[in-house]
Structures are given as structure tokens and as C-alpha cells.
Symmetry: D2
Subunit: 150 residues, 4 copies
Amino acid sequence: MKRVVESHLRVRYAETDAQGVVYYANYLVWFEVARVNYLRALGFDFRSLEQQITVVIAEANCRYLAPARFDDEIAVRAWVEEVRRTSLVFAYAVYNRASGQLLTEGSTVLVFVTLGAQPRPIEIPTALRQALLAEPADGECEEPVVVCKS
Amino acid sequence: MKRVVESHLRVRYAETDAQGVVYYANYLVWFEVARVNYLRALGFDFRSLEQQITVVIAEANCRYLAPARFDDEIAVRAWVEEVRRTSLVFAYAVYNRASGQLLTEGSTVLVFVTLGAQPRPIEIPTALRQALLAEPADGECEEPVVVCKS
Amino acid sequence: MKRVVESHLRVRYAETDAQGVVYYANYLVWFEVARVNYLRALGFDFRSLEQQITVVIAEANCRYLAPARFDDEIAVRAWVEEVRRTSLVFAYAVYNRASGQLLTEGSTVLVFVTLGAQPRPIEIPTALRQALLAEPADGECEEPVVVCKS
Amino acid sequence: MKRVVESHLRVRYAETDAQGVVYYANYLVWFEVARVNYLRALGFDFRSLEQQITVVIAEANCRYLAPARFDDEIAVRAWVEEVRRTSLVFAYAVYNRASGQLLTEGSTVLVFVTLGAQPRPIEIPTALRQALLAEPADGECEEPVVVCKS
């Protein structure tokens, strides 16, 4: 039973392109918004992390199924697919909230690394690992946690 | 007594730059978000407009007073400074919601134009003009209207 | 023997993020620049295409090996990995021009579709297919074609 | 007689919006590209500056006269309008290279500040001030210096 965090946003004009739809790179921006909201919902303060170690993206993948348009209301669901020693795999699904249609699916691999000129992979901080692996509370995952503001 | 619409958003990592602060062009994106929310709060459907006539930006100005950083919660206040025959002047003030600090101030001039290869300025649609000029209802403007999702 | 087109660009401040490196979504923008240059180098006028049929991205993938920083001079190599009936697979490799280091690798799937409200996949235009499949001229591929301006 | 540095770029698909033209905030990105090229043409290494002091934008203004479209070849001319004690005023003019049409005009105010949590304005570094104020060499300004790659 997985924990899913859902972020709501509305398509900005800035995010559209000359085809009248959201430009393909911008879904990776939404994935980032969803990922940050996921970690925050877990009680994780992203800014405190940044002082000691940091995370980098090692891989990003996205499949585009249907377009989003200006002013559409969007839901981005994020969950953790895999917890490894020094990295996490996040998965995402982007929906049009009015129609319920699935628009894109994707994943990213996040690696925890040391700060500095020569970053090296480092173990996921213990508190975060425990929070990620903790069994969701009863009923917590029947519906995604919704994070309104992005 | 002016109508002020306040939009709330959170700084995305994508919006920061190598100085660790929000890149200066991104405030114009936030202005657009605030402007669209303002017009929506007035009962204006931006997408219906786009079918007949359209709006273009003729001018944008921004003064930068203090930086915003990743994950900061931001309020963007928007109001109409001036209603002309074929154009509108919007003004904006961007705040850090935690500290209340004013971060940037700006304005944009929007011109209503005909669609097509040779756009010409055209009068602001009557319904919109009336809505823009209508006296706000009693108490409506004591506090800004808050539009949570952007 | 494949045809490789190399595009040169310099990292913009706008493309960096608070980690001081290029934000991960921006590599997909560079892929687009490289893809457009590839097709132009093949004699393909992207704007003429857009009038009849259009292309959409069905999939994008990126692996991040090393960061790029503000003002770095970058080479993006693009080539066609596979020509299918209605789609093309492009592959990309991004290098730091000063060090020669490989920074990211990626691929995108482009699908040719009809214009209109219900886009359907359509065969790759014959002239383009022939150009894509034509054996590169002698010596053409010993070095990538370099497209300076992006 | 002023020194003008001209940067050439091509409109990226990512820079367009649903109106089929370049999104208004992106001109500020091009201003940054032009400004960095201007300073580099003056022999100024932007990256070395960043280690000691830094520059922030205090103000940005843009007037939009005509749109740019995908794949258009663009020239951005930049020059210094005013050299103050701790700040510089840059001006910009953006042209369509094929038609010669002026598309946008703008300006930004750059302030030199100390690094750290409480940045304070600081005098423009002497070497840079001298380079900015030096009389252009004979013939240098008859035509803008052209910086191809951006």
C-alpha cells in the first residue's frame, strides 16, 4: 500500500508553447513540485537538507499521452517506487482534474550526494529513510494526500 | 477603493538561479498568474476571450527590492491601475508571506487586439469594461480576495 | 554510419538553479534545439511542416552524468536512432566543450500527427523519410556537422 | 559614440507560448544573454566576479512592439546607457534579423553588491569601470560587435 501525494496546479500561460499545449520540458518542473510536496508531506524539510547534503537528479523519464492547455486544472500524483541505499525512485502521474484523463507518466531517480566540488553518493539520511519506509497509517492511503498550493 | 486579488504560490526550484534566488524574469510569470486570477475573480473567462479577440502585452516593468528563495511562500497582489479604451494597466506587488516583506513591484500594459496576421487594437469588451469599472461591493475590498491555487 | 549534427550553445543564467547548475528540465530544451538544428541541416523546414501536419513528443528520457554551469560552452549532438512508420527516435549527447566531458545523454520519441482537435498518427512525410534514410555522403559523418547558432 | 554588442540567437520552441509568439518574460532572458556577451566582449570574466562580489538586478523594463516567432533569427543589441557609482543601466533593442524590424526595447539596472546574507551596494570594480568608460577604439563602434553564439 503506497503513500500517494497529490499536488494541484493550474497551467500557466508561460508553460504553453506555439502548439497551444504545455511544452514537454515543463512536466519535469511539475514533477519537481510534486516531489517537493511529497517530501514535505512526509515531514521532511527540504531546506534543512540542503545545508548538509544535497540531492541530484540522475535520471528523468516522461511519457506523454495527452496534452494540457492553458488554465487547465492539473493534479500531479507522486509516490516513491523504490528506496535504495543512496537513491530514491519517484514516480508521477499527471491528470486533467476536470476530465480525469491521464496526461503524462514519468519517473525520476534522485541521488543523495555530499556537498562540495566532488559530490559523492551518500546514504539517504536515516530519519528520511524511516519515514519513507514506514507503513502508512490506517486509511492514510485510501485517497491521495492533497497538497493544494504549489 | 480598489479591488485587489491576491494569488498564493510557492517558489519552485525551477524558478531559482545560481545566486540561490528567483531569476528576475520569473516575476513576470507570476504577474501573469496574478493577472489571470484577477480576471477570473471578476467572472471573466480568459479562454472564451481568446476565441474572438486576444490580449497582448505592450509593456512590462519590475522593480526588485528583495529576493525570494526556493520553497518560500509568496503572495502576489494584482489590481487594475487604469482602464483605457483599448488597454489596461495592471499593477502588482509581490510579498514573502512569512515575513510580510515586499519583494518586487511591477506593472504591465495589456492591449486588446483583433486576431489574425495584422492585429489591431480593439475596444475592451463591454462586459469586461463594466466589470472592471464596477464599484466593488461593500466590504469586498477591505481585504484582498485570495486565490489559493495558481 | 550515422549522421550527427552538433549544436553549440552557452549556458544562460536563466538555465541555472539554486544548486549553481543547469536545472534538469532545461536539457530537454537543449534537446529540442539540437533536434530542430538536425532537421534543418537535413534541408527540412520545420515551419512549413507545421502548416500541414505536426509533431508531438511521445516520450523523453534523460540521464544526468555531470553538471553544466553558467557560461559553460556546450555541444549537443543529435542523431536519429530509429525511423518508424509514424515516429522517429532521436538520441542526444551533451558535452562540455572545454573539457570534452559527457554531461547528459537522452532520447525523445517524435510522432507525426494530423492537425486538429483529434490528432491521429500519420506517416512521416516521404521527402523527410527519404532524407532521413539516405546514406550520408562520403566523409559527411567523419565529423559531426556543426551548427553554431542556436 | 557608444559601444554596442550584438548577440544572435534563434527562437526556441520552448520560448513560444499558446499565441504562437515568444512569451513576454523571455525577452528578459535574452537581455541577460546580451548583457553577459557585452561584458565578455569588454574583456570581463563574469565568473571571476561572482567569487568576490556579485550583481543583482534592481529594475527591468520592456516595451513590446512586434512579436517574434519560433525559429526566427534574432539580434539583441546591448549597450551601457549610464555608469553610476554602484550600478549600471543597460539598454537593449531586439530585432528580427530577416526583416530588420525592431521587436522590443528594454533596460535593466544592475547593482554591484557584496556577497553574503546582507548584500550592500558596493562600487563598481575599478577595472570594469575603466573598461566601461574607455573611449571605444577608432572604428570599433561603426558597427556593433557581433557575438554569434549565445
